[in-house]
């Protein structure tokens, strides 16, 4: 798109979007009610796709398109993330220089706990994601942190997700105004339009699930993190949640923030919370 036409186009897009969406009746004071949010969120998607069971949503585009679903079922017999999963298991138990390993940093040696992440750390006053916790574990043992967007981190989260397969997402919101604030920030980020293409996460994953963007079928926002990390054929490899957030930003021509920036941590917190109850399906595969 010609840069010169960007401004009128951007303004037009903003105006059009505002008109296209029914503005709800004036609400009372904007109080944060995550329980009501989650209920409305899940109802929106189950109403939109009445033939799907709630747990189907964690399979993203595969539940949106029959042909894709058939191909995916076949591939799941011999999934492409197998190599990453094995590498992750090996890495998780391998000792650091000081003799400790990841097992020492997590409850139950890291097995079957993925569904509790991210969580709000009341001492720190911030959201802690699984990827962040893994790197903090390394740093506590004097090891260099891993890149949030490369294979090693993806392998580790793949292993942890696999040990939690089937368990319902279980994000806690403590009775702490800072936690509520983080949740609200995440929610705002999700719906805020950004980038020159003026997309928000909701533009694709709330307004258009099951429809196409170029050749890809869009996933619904409900349960969208339950399958992470994912082996994406487009990437020819595994990708973390961080990788997905940053690349989505640059694809809509917005400069991505740092992988574990507050905004992304809060976003992950919000998106995971509103998908509470849906099963962990990771590691996943996507087109």
């Amino acid at each position: 798109m010609n840069a010169r036409s960007a401004i009128p186009l951007a303004s037009a897009a903003l105006a059009l979007l505002a008109l296209a969406f029914v503005v709800p009746a004036a609400t009372a004071a904007d109080t944060v009610d995550p329980v009501a949010d989650a209920k409305a969120f899940q109802k929106f998607f189950t109403d939109k796709f009445p033939k799907l069971k709630p747990e189907d949503f964690v399979n993203g585009p595969y539940s949106m398109n029959e042909d894709l679903h058939r191909q995916w079922e076949e591939k799941e017999q011999f999934p492409p993330y197998e190599f990453s999963l094995e590498a992750g298991k090996e890495m998780f138990t391998k000792p650091f220089k000081n003799g400790k390993s990841f097992e020492d940093c997590f409850p139950n040696k890291g097995i079957g706990i993925r569904q509790n992440y991210p969580y709000f750390d009341e001492k720190e006053g911030k959201v802690v994601t699984l990827e962040l916790a893994l790197n903090r574990c390394r740093e506590a043992s004097g090891e260099a942190p891993l890149s949030y967007v490369r294979d090693d981190m993806a392998a580790l989260t793949a292993y942890m997700a696999f040990t939690s397969r089937g368990k319902p997402m279980d994000i806690k919101l403590p009775n702490d105004p800072r936690a509520l604030e983080a949740y609200q920030q995440g929610k705002e980020y999700f719906y805020t339009r950004r980038g020159q293409l003026n997309f928000s996460c909701a533009t694709c994953h709330v307004q258009s699930p099951g429809e196409r963007i170029r050749a890809e079928v869009l996933a619904p926002a409900l349960g969208i993190l339950n399958a992470m990390p994912i082996y994406r054929s487009e990437w020819s490899g595994m990708g973390t949640t961080s990788r997905r957030f940053t690349t989505c930003n640059s694809q809509i021509r917005g400069v991505p923030l740092d992988p574990q920036a507050d905004e992304y941590r809060d976003l992950e917190y919000y998106l995971s919370y509103v998908s509470n109850g849906l099963p962990i399906s990771g590691p996943g595969a996507r087109p």
Partner: protein, 105 residues
């Protein structure tokens, strides 16, 4: 016949006007000012956590043009970059309220 004459006079006038503005070519000083303005706007967009990738690309193109001495192009690119940066600021500011339009309730 008359219309043809009028049109040709109009065309000549425009050509002359164009030639006159081309004569007033952009200087390095003008580029530096335009670039600084664009950078400042992009920095503000950065503080709002909403920079666009195309702003950075256009800034780079402006600098490249200036480095090769093409200040007309450099100034034009810098002005575009500033416009893009300002649009990204507008987006970030207006979205502070507009995000609610998309919210599932």
């Amino acid at each position: 016949m008359k219309i043809w004459v009028l049109e040709s006079i109009l065309a000549a006038t425009l050509l002359l006007a164009g030639a006159m503005s081309a004569l007033a070519a952009s200087t390095e000083a003008e580029f530096k000012a335009a670039y600084a303005a664009a950078e400042a706007a992009n920095k503000e967009a950065g503080s709002l956590r909403n920079q666009w990738t195309t702003t950075a690309a256009t800034l780079a193109a402006a600098k490249k043009a200036a480095d090769s001495g093409d200040f007309d192009n450099a100034v034009a690119q810098a002005k575009e970059a500033e416009a893009l940066a300002k649009a990204s600021i507008f987006q970030a500011t207006s979205e502070k309220e507009r995000w609610k339009d998309l919210e599932i309730r």
